[in-house]
């Protein structure tokens, strides 16, 4: 009792290792902002900010590895009054997010320099967004998921609009902001209704209540589930909630697009999977049909939409909707195998997307102005290496054997086959749309190997700098290595799923 006569508050115990990855990234971001106020010269401010960012990402990765070893021996655990779940699943997604963030930071340097934008704030916002993603992957409570979702989204609104002199960037930012805020509100209403239906916001609390009590009136729970799915559907860019994707992917600075396609997708899917499997695992017969519909629509919209586009960034945006459909095939299977195949897919798609957008960024050149398909005409004669790298990544996205994309698609199809029933149909639709999407990828590849005609204006693309080069090499190498020897990644994903805290 203190002088005021109120019992003092006993705060919950904190496992510092459990929150270290999130905290270190956020601290790095704050460090960047602080050193920005001391070092005012742009020539000094950016390199030092880059160093702080690199240190933050590396330390965060070290913390994740330490978590992984601890979880292997001691098993999964929760901390901070069960708000944070440290398990294989959160660590795997965290790893994907960190790799994607590191790649996006590498891409950013050249871009910021080329467009003459202020660097430190950009890096700080990207790190904050990434820390939100890590928090989202380990969030074990709907309120924590919501707050983390906003920490992911709000920096992205700013990053999309970061090139303030280009009106397309600003407009994309505005569009993403309005739809994102709308989606957040819808998700939040779902959280509120789920809370009312179960009396808890904790994922484990919801699961316990639903397993103990047979609800006679399931309406509130179902409405909550549907609204949460709509909200997260926006964030993962699944059809029919995809309409922002092409515009925003096209208008955003290309490094930000790479970040959104890889890291944001992984984090949003992590929240989706955790909510569905942990909290609502017992009522999978309710959400499996809903996910089935989402998957079919995403597959069809993504592949058919990509065919009618003429801009490569928009094509890749539609292809990312298509990929969301494939990941949903794995998620809707409702099995352990489904989760591990979705994890594998997310990891593989992350570096395919980063690599592809890195190349588009190089070809589009100054001002990010023109990523039209015409611009890729005759690229093979001008930039032979670049066009072969892009071809490899596109083939992988199409799912050609001996590339990583094949492993990803094979995983979700076999998970769907394992689940049986309507999942078979879904797998068939998936293969059909994979064929349609392959046409788009081949069209881009063929354009690159068509010699530029007399009338075509051949604009100089920017040079490949060190950071971009590393990203492209890295993603191409991984595409082949994982395509030939997938054992390591598959083993990691399987281990991560086995350690999935439920």
């Amino acid at each position: 009792m203190n002088p005021l006569g109120v019992a003092s508050i006993v705060t919950p115990g904190v496992d510092w290792l459990g929150v270290a990855p999130v905290a270190l990234l956020a601290l790095a971001a704050i460090g960047i902002v602080l050193q920005r106020s001391i070092l005012r010269r742009a020539s000094v401010a950016y390199p030092s900010a880059l160093i702080v960012a690199a240190v933050g990402i590396i330390l965060s990765a070290v913390a994740l590895i330490a978590q992984w070893h601890r979880v292997q021996t001691d098993g999964s655990y929760t901390t901070l009054s069960k708000m944070v779940a440290v398990d294989g699943f959160s660590i795997f997604i965290g790893g994907v997010v960190l790799v994607a963030t590191a790649c996006s930071v590498l891409l950013a340097s050249r871009y910021l320099d080329r467009e003459r934008l202020d660097g430190p704030e950009y890096l700080a916002l990207m790190l904050l967004s990434a820390s939100g993603m890590l928090a989202m992957a380990s969030a074990n409570d709907l309120i924590a998921v919501f707050v983390a979702l906003e920490i992911v989204s709000i920096p992205l609104y700013v990053l999309v609009a970061y090139d303030r002199r280009r009106s397309t960037s600003l407009e994309a930012g505005m569009k993403y902001f309005l739809l994102g805020a709308f989606a957040s509100a819808v998700f939040l209403y779902g959280v509120a209704l789920t809370y009312g239906a179960t009396g808890s916001t904790g994922l484990v609390g919801i699961a316990n209540y639903l397993s103990e009590v047979t609800l006679l009136e399931r309406g509130t729970l179902l409405a909550g589930l549907v609204l949460m799915l709509v909200g997260l559907g926006f964030k993962v860019a699944a059809a029919p909630f995809h309409m922002w994707t092409p515009d925003v992917y096209q208008g955003a600075p290309t490094p930000v697009t790479a970040f959104m396609a890889s890291a944001t997708k992984a984090a949003a899917f992590a929240a989706l999977i955790r909510i569905l499997y942990t909290a609502l695992g017992g009522s999978s017969s309710d959400w499996r049909p809903l996910l089935w519909v989402l998957a079919v629509l995403s597959l069809l919209v993504g592949s058919i939409g990509a065919v009618i586009q003429t801009d490569v960034k928009r094509m890749l945006a539609y292809s990312s909707i298509n990929h969301a459909g494939f990941i949903l095939i794995g998620v809707q299977a409702g099995t352990i195998k489904g989760v591990s195949s979705a994890l594998t897919y997310l990891a593989i798609y992350a570096f395919l997307a980063v690599g592809s957008f890195a190349i588009v960024g190089v070809v589009a050149g100054r001002g990010d102005a023109d990523s039209d398909l015409e611009r890729f005409k005759g690229l093979s004669s001008r930039r032979t290496g670049l066009s072969w790298a892009f071809t490899l990544l596109l083939l992988a996205q199409a799912g050609v054997p001996l590339t990583a994309g094949f492993i990803a698609k094979f995983g979700v199809f076999s998970a769907a086959a394992g689940a049986g029933g309507t999942s078979y149909v879904l797998a068939l639709i998936g293969m059909l749309t994979a064929a349609i999407a392959a046409f788009v990828y081949l069209r881009i590849a063929a354009t690159m190997f068509t010699p530029a005609g007399e009338g075509d204006q051949v604009l100089a693309s920017s040079k490949v700098d060190l950071g971009t080069g590393i990203v492209i090499w890295f993603s191409c190498a991984l595409t082949i290595v994982i395509g030939v020897a997938p054992g390591f990644l598959l083993g990691l994903a399987e281990r991560a799923t086995l350690l999935f805290l439920r």
Partner: protein, 180 residues
């Protein structure tokens, strides 16, 4: 009886305010209608015994946020009337239908039994010592400590993002002068 009268009064203000936000042609009027809805929300919160939330609603929402809205409207000078007959004529009835369908679905799905959840075991409204403020504080600093810590990151985001968007960058201006 008092509760009934108050509820009906607040409900009418809230609904009229919400419709006013959507229907007003002038953004300033929309903002003022929004204040009406937000204040009636605070009234509902008092009726339901959430005193601290009610106070915060008035302080943060009805004053700070709405003032920010009005400030931006005035700063930009966009308080002129907007014609409501816009090019997207088809969209309006479709949106109205959609809204009605959503409302009907929500009501229909949930029937009369909205709250099917468990009664609280740990954080009851009336148990424990201290008033509403102390109990809410205890919840925030124990069960919800992690989201509370996360909000600090959110505030950093708001500051950095706001600065990055609204500041006039010397570097960018120099670049655009060169371009011209």
């Amino acid at each position: 009886m008092v509760t009934l009268v108050l509820f009906i009064a607040f409900a009418i203000i809230a609904l009229v305010g919400a419709l006013g936000v959507v229907i007003s042609r002038n953004p300033v009027h929309s903002a003022l209608w929004l204040v009406a809805t937000l204040l009636s929300m605070a009234g509902f919160f008092i009726l339901e015994g959430a005193y601290l939330v009610s106070a915060v609603q008035v302080i943060v929402y009805a004053s700070a946020i709405v003032v920010l809205f009005l400030f931006v409207i005035m700063l930009l000078g966009v308080d002129r009337e907007e014609s409501l007959t816009d090019p997207l004529k088809v969209q309006r009835p479709v949106a109205l239908m959609l809204g009605l369908v959503v409302f009907a679905l929500l009501i229909g799905l949930m029937g009369n039994h909205w709250a099917t959840g468990a009664q609280s075991a740990t954080a009851a409204l009336e148990s424990g010592d201290g008033g509403n403020v102390e109990r809410v504080a205890r919840e925030i600093f124990t069960t919800y400590l992690w989201p509370f810590e996360l909000t600090s990151a959110l505030l950093v985001v708001a500051v950095v993002g706001g600065v990055a968007l609204a500041r006039r960058s010397r570097r960018a201006e120099a670049a655009s002068e060169v371009a011209q």
